[in-house]
Symmetry: C2
Subunit: 346 residues, 2 copies
Amino acid sequence: MRGTNNLQEEIRRVKDKVDSLMLGSLLPISDSVHEVDLLFKMMRDYPTRQGKGMRPFLCVTTCKAAGGTEEDAILTAASIEMFQNWILIHDDIEDGSQLRRGEPTLHRKYPVSLALNAGDALHARMWGALLGNSQRLGHERTLGVLGEFSRMVNETTEGQHMELGWVENKRWDLTEADYFLMCTKKTSWYTVASPCRLGAIVAGAQPSVLEALRSFGTDLGVAFQIQDDALNLTGDERKYGKAKSDDIAEGKRTLILLHLMDSAGPPEKSRLRAIMNKPRDDKTPEDISYVLSLVDKHDAIGYARKRAEELLKMALLTLKKIEWPGDRSSAALLESFAKYAVEREW
Amino acid sequence: MRGTNNLQEEIRRVKDKVDSLMLGSLLPISDSVHEVDLLFKMMRDYPTRQGKGMRPFLCVTTCKAAGGTEEDAILTAASIEMFQNWILIHDDIEDGSQLRRGEPTLHRKYPVSLALNAGDALHARMWGALLGNSQRLGHERTLGVLGEFSRMVNETTEGQHMELGWVENKRWDLTEADYFLMCTKKTSWYTVASPCRLGAIVAGAQPSVLEALRSFGTDLGVAFQIQDDALNLTGDERKYGKAKSDDIAEGKRTLILLHLMDSAGPPEKSRLRAIMNKPRDDKTPEDISYVLSLVDKHDAIGYARKRAEELLKMALLTLKKIEWPGDRSSAALLESFAKYAVEREW
């Protein structure tokens, strides 16, 4: 199993399996009470849209590399997908996002109050689903999985608060270290570190492996986020599924923007700040174009991508040092994935 | 331990114990990162306001009646309090509420996006706290507690969707059975049924006891909600902690309002509907006064209170049939509590 094609096939294969478990039995399907039935429909909305499926792939693949089986990890992998879906519902409300996976966000299809509540309902179903692990994995390992989920949600909500707080308080006095910390919390834990660690926990891996996966996951997660930030400005909207340059509209502190703030001359910098601090709806198309022109002029994307490559290199070094007791081809797939996550175009 | 004074003292005693556990070790206190520190402060905001503390009392008292100890139940009781706090943060956003426990709601003190995220953070901490049960209770009982929490959150979010959906769709074609179902889901589970059942699960009670507590809890929970709806219209705002007649402003379908829709004459009914269907901010003080005058004229509160008394009677019958293996005075306290919950003035 080598090369990007095999990787993409494998991601797709795991994703299909996880989707069928999630939609077939973890999420409720219908109810005789009209309103409850609509709630279930809303809970199933994001999960039925086309997601990337990277996280369940990481969970299942790490489990196999660590000596477990795919079946051991599949329920946990599906629960990670449920996490991704409820947090996106809430993130989209918090960020005022318009599009998700190429369709209107849930709170634009339905009243915000109902969308918020549907996110909570999905959140609770995630924990409920995880309890089903005890039959196959036993009580001890099930509680280990729950503990990792707890850590993962804590980190993610802290990162989300950091990002929202920076926008709210118009903060631009931020260093790369600030960005890396926010990004580790907001993205790395739930995108790479926890999916890998969960697969390892399911397989009964040693603490040293979990620690290595934390390090691998945080580095790769930040690199992944940098690439995501770059794609938001340069990517194909249809493949990418979010509105182009939406991060600028939203005022997000990306590595690209932080670098720009550093390299721009004083007049550029003051116009840039004024634009970035405007509320989303006050930003004009000219504002966005001006920011994009500065991004080009100072090669901010090139700079950010270089940093992403450095992080990838560190992540790969960490990965190489892990002595996997299980399937070797799965360990190799993790390496392919890491490269792919940073070099992808969607 | 008899009479209302003892009951109130006992509720207060348990509440203080639970608060000190929750604020002292379950909720994070501070962080060196400014934004994370603010998140923690927001998570601690509602928990430090003066709540009633009924739910932890029910959990601890049922545990003792079922043969367990207070220490067995205290962590679970504190987690119930955490549930109450995160769901209130989100409910207040969903309902557009202004006051909570006599102070501005969290999303009025801070940006809505940050309040929403703080609710999620508190939600996750609740599950994390529950994992701590395994040391004292063992893995099996810990998973039983988690399973009941899962049921409790599912029911609550379904009930919340029902209520919000009715307002959203301007539905008034509702029967008492509709109201009872919504109320069972939205209020009974997390207010009475699950707190009692959790205490029983912690103590290792038989399934028949859990089933009786479900029945007791759903009846008493609806009676409690009816009394809450009545207090919203008649109660002392300072004791009650919410804005008076806020349910009318919000357009809530209470038993009182449903009865009014049934008993009002055609012209009254059409004006009543028009008022109740207005958005919160469009309702004038005259609108509210008119609704209140109809409530008086048709004795809708008297009617609702009679229904609450009937439910209380059923709940007490169910409670009497339970054969408690544990502390008798705790079983007696549950009975006092049931009466008090329906007859209270706050």
